[in-house]
């Protein structure tokens, strides 16, 4: 449950408690059951409908910062002892800190977590260069951050397989007073690449079960692989956003500059205003470094774009915004609405002699906690085959660059990575009558 939902649930519980107090406890005689329930329902409805309002005000750290990463899987809370009563291997697997990558902190918490499971007296996790974590006897000289001291580690890294050492000499620790006597060292691998080792030491002559250590190393390797995939997925998502930023049409800039040049003699004031708006437009596109922004910021970007296009098209381009007050503070993916509006202007209005109207409508449904955004135009529309290709997820730029739709394709891919299957993105078009793009995303 996200923070907003938790707050809403808390407010609802408090409202019901207040209704109960006023109608049942503080009053004599108490109100009947049905009127009490009706009062509670009225109060709940008011709270649910009134919650997503602009009264919430601006939220902290919206762009780029924590909000930009907020869609990533949340970390599970960790027990400071590292071990929980009745911990099973399956439970340990689900809460493995290495899921976030092979870092010293994650390695330390992992070592604490798996130490009782493997039956070792000391657990160490290393990368290929240094000790990332060491828990147990011997930590006085097996320093975290130090280089790999033991011969057995280098052996396991070199041979890429598990090494079992039955005697103290085999460990190869240079410290004469080291209490560690046996060791099982298993490599940690991502794909075919060894990235570190898991070492289980004991202070007596019986080494830890090799199969158990092997299995745990395999599980940790799987988590490291997943962490690597997560990182690649985030990089891909960032790259898609960068591609969208870089996709600002050079023709758009060329046309706007021509418009400004033509107005500079006849109307210098308007030229100056257009230049400032153009500056705002590029500043917004370049400075957005997170994946989400408040709707009002995206709206600012859209109206900046539209005002620039209106300077070029004049009365041929009409626009109508229809916004719910509640939608202004909701968070939407950045650079999603403007490309849709740009498509409507480029492919819907620009080709029409009489021009047309672009309609941007945004609503919040507090009951389903959904933000719906609709961009429609009454322009030229799209041919069915172009629409089919678009809906099939095909990049249509190969056949008709003019109706490239790469923006829509990019948006669809980004929405996929941000929301999975919790969004809908529908495009409907009739040639000669216009196009409607409907987007429904979870309310944030």
């Amino acid at each position: 449950m996200r923070g907003g939902s938790r707050l809403l649930a808390g407010v609802l519980v408090a409202a019901w408690a207040a209704v109960y107090l006023v109608t049942q406890v503080l009053v004599a005689p108490p109100l009947g059951v049905l009127p009490t329930l009706a009062s509670g329902l009225v109060v709940s409805t008011v709270v649910v409908l009134g919650y997503p309002s602009a009264l919430r005000g601006p939220r902290g750290g919206s762009l780029g910062g924590p909000a930009g990463r907020s869609w990533r899987p949340a970390r599970r809370p960790q027990d400071p002892r590292g071990v929980r009563d009745g911990l099973t291997i399956a439970a340990a697997g689900r809460s493995m800190p290495l899921r976030n990558g092979l870092t010293p902190d994650a390695a330390r918490r992992t070592a604490q977590l798996i130490r009782p499971l493997l039956g070792g007296d000391a657990i160490a996790i290393t990368d290929t260069e240094q000790v990332l974590a060491f828990v147990g006897p011997g930590s006085d000289h097996h320093h975290v951050g130090g280089t790999l001291q033991t011969r057995v580690s280098r052996l396991a890294l070199g041979k890429k397989r598990t090494v079992v050492v039955h005697a103290r000499d085999g460990i190869g620790c240079p410290e004469p007073g080291c209490p560690l006597r046996t060791a099982v060292v298993a490599p940690l691998a991502v794909a075919d690449r060894v990235v570190g080792t898991l070492k289980v030491y004991r202070v007596h002559d019986e080494p830890a079960p090799r199969v158990l250590v092997d299995d745990m190393a395999s599980m940790l390797s799987l988590h490291l692989e997943l962490a690597e995939m997560d990182r690649e997925r985030h990089l891909a998502s960032d790259a898609k956003l960068d591609a969208l930023r870089a996709q600002i049409n050079p023709h758009f800039l060329f046309n706007i500059l021509n418009t400004i040049a033509s107005k500079s003699r006849t109307d210098p004031e308007e030229s100056r205003e257009l230049l400032l708006r153009l500056s705002d437009f590029f500043r917004y596109a370049v400075r957005q470094d997170g994946h989400f922004a408040e709707f009002s910021q995206e709206y600012f970007f859209v109206r900046t774009y539209v005002s620039l296009e209106q300077a070029r098209f004049g009365d041929r381009l009409r626009v109508r915004y229809d916004l719910d007050p509640q939608v202004l503070t909701s968070r939407v993916p950045v650079l999603v609405i403007q490309p849709i509006v740009e498509n409507a202007v480029k492919h819907g209005i620009a080709d029409s002699v009489t021009g047309g109207t672009v309609h941007l409508r945004a609503r919040v449904d507090p009951l389903t906690r959904t933000t719906s955004i609709r961009v429609s135009d009454d322009g030229a529309g799209m041919a069915p085959e172009v629409l089919d290709r678009l809906l099939a997820g095909q990049r249509p730029g190969d056949t008709d660059p003019r109706h490239s739709g790469v923006g829509l394709w990019n948006i669809s891919q980004r929405l996929d990575s941000l929301f999975g299957d919790r969004y809908s993105f529908d495009v409907a078009s009739t040639p000669g009558k216009g196009t409607t793009v409907d987007l429904r995303i979870p309310l944030r």
Binding site: P35, P58, E294, D324, P325
Partner: protein, 111 residues
């Protein structure tokens, strides 16, 4: 020359803001109307409303008439004023986090 170019808005932007503010006003007026109308309705339909004793021997109806309605009006007024102001700010101003408008930028500075 008027340097405050950031304060200029297109008719479509102003029209959108007006319609959103009108929606807020109508919504809050409906809430106001329902709350005020609920008082006589409850007085006519519920004995509990006028005969039960809540605090200091006062009935719920009396308490609402004496204090509750005024509190409600005050809260509603503040809420609608804040919401209207927030809506106007978000729909007409630049609400980016850097709060930086191109009109404020000194010449020659890179963005």
């Amino acid at each position: 020359m008027d340097d405050d170019v950031g304060a200029r808005h297109t008719p479509a932007e102003v029209d959108a803001t007006f319609r959103t503010l009108r929606r807020v006003a109508v919504g809050y007026f409906v809430v106001f109307l329902l709350a005020v109308a609920a008082f006589p309705v409850l007085s006519l339909t519920s004995d509990w409303w006028s005969e039960a004793r809540l605090v200091g021997g006062m009935s719920p109806g009396f308490l609402v008439a004496a204090f509750g309605l005024y509190l409600f009006f005050a809260v509603l007024g503040v809420a609608v004023a804040r919401l209207m102001s927030a809506v106007e700010h978000r729909m007409l101003d630049d609400t980016r986090d850097d709060g930086f408008s191109a009109a404020d930028e000194p010449p020659g500075d890179l963005p």
